[in-house]
Symmetry: C3
Subunit: 156 residues, 3 copies
């Protein structure tokens, strides 16, 4: 292997729980000196959306693997999504895992490329000005060109 190692990630989920894995992998790889690019698409684009990134939630529903599982009938009660979200944030904080916004800042400062999927921007009505600083708009073709030189490719 010559040159720098590279990881290319597609982040497609917009729930709080699934926002962590791309950012943990990205910041770890960047700290190891790798090149890192994340392509935020579908619900994942919420992570680059200034209006949404601080409001990511996790629903206690349809996932019997939640650390504190609740019956689905209870998970459907209004307020339970807020409770599950609060619990997850607390569990992460206790383990010194930084909040999503801080991890994004760290990623950007470490040179991680943040690609915003242009098709998703169109479908969801997201404007350039909605994106956090440092985001680059890109299509699937740009991502594939980036990913072909990566040793590790992941769809999250």
């Amino acid at each position: 292997m010559e040159g720098k190692k590279r990881v290319a990630i597609i982040a497609s989920k917009g729930t709080l729980d699934m926002a962590y894995p791309p950012l943990i992998i990205a910041t770890t790889a960047a700290a190891m000196g790798w090149e890192v690019g994340i392509f935020f698409t579908f619900y994942g684009l919420d992570m680059l959306n200034k209006k949404k990134v601080r409001k990511l939630k996790v629903a206690p529903l349809g996932n019997p693997a939640m650390p504190v599982p609740v019956p689905n009938i209870v998970g459907a009660i209004p307020g339970m999504t807020a409770l599950a979200t609060w619990m997850m944030k607390r569990m992460m904080r206790k383990q010194q895992v930084p909040p999503i916004m801080e991890m994004l800042d760290l990623a950007r400062q470490s040179g991680v490329k943040l690609f915003a999927c242009t098709t998703t921007m169109g479908v969801m009505g997201v404007a350039d000005s909605d994106l956090i600083e440092g985001s680059e708009c890109a299509g699937a073709a740009t991502f594939l060109d980036y990913a072909v030189k990566a040793q590790v490719t992941l769809f999250i």
Copy 2:
């Protein structure tokens, strides 16, 4: 890198929203001259199932990242899955993203290999004659042999 670039995708989801990413990536890569193979497994096999591919749905439940999020208690009301499905199709159409069936046709015409997972066919009781034209039955071993020569590998 010698020869053609290649992307190998596992499509494991059978919801309407997660049916788009494998097909968007596949058709984009094919248009760039790459070799593309998709291995449809688990719920993803519905995409190759003539009886099911036109009926893929998205549920407005357990995903607080839906573009128009609804409380889970509302998402559980009968009819809400049909409404969310209709909305997603409309959003995609407005952005000129073709329906799943058209994307599958385009993929096939572009030479994308469509592998139907034989284990899933057994588990779900899907016969050869249920599959759309151009599907090839294959096991996980065949997919791994295909994927080992790919620069980009994704589990969706």
Copy 3:
């Protein structure tokens, strides 16, 4: 390509349905003589957790692609998760797909590396003694070092 082929998998889901794909791919690859490593993180760590691996469940909710889909309002009724779990186990058994615990044993005996994510262990309060025999504790950096030499990398 020189040396052994390698697949590196991240298993992040803790539901019964999504526990099968990493283990089916891993045991297939191992049978083909590949090196295989699975990094169990987030909900996926439940698969290495002695107290939880035999109790993985699947919820009939928010996934309209379930083989026998039920309306979400029905899926929320207490008991439906147990019913869906029982049905999935029966479907798998009929096709001679072994239970998760047997597949883990087979994977271990075939030399598959089972990495338990240390960050997740902290967040979820899982101790070394909770892990099934043969698990190795590892961080994201260890996984990336392993994955960089893999031809196939998958986030499940």
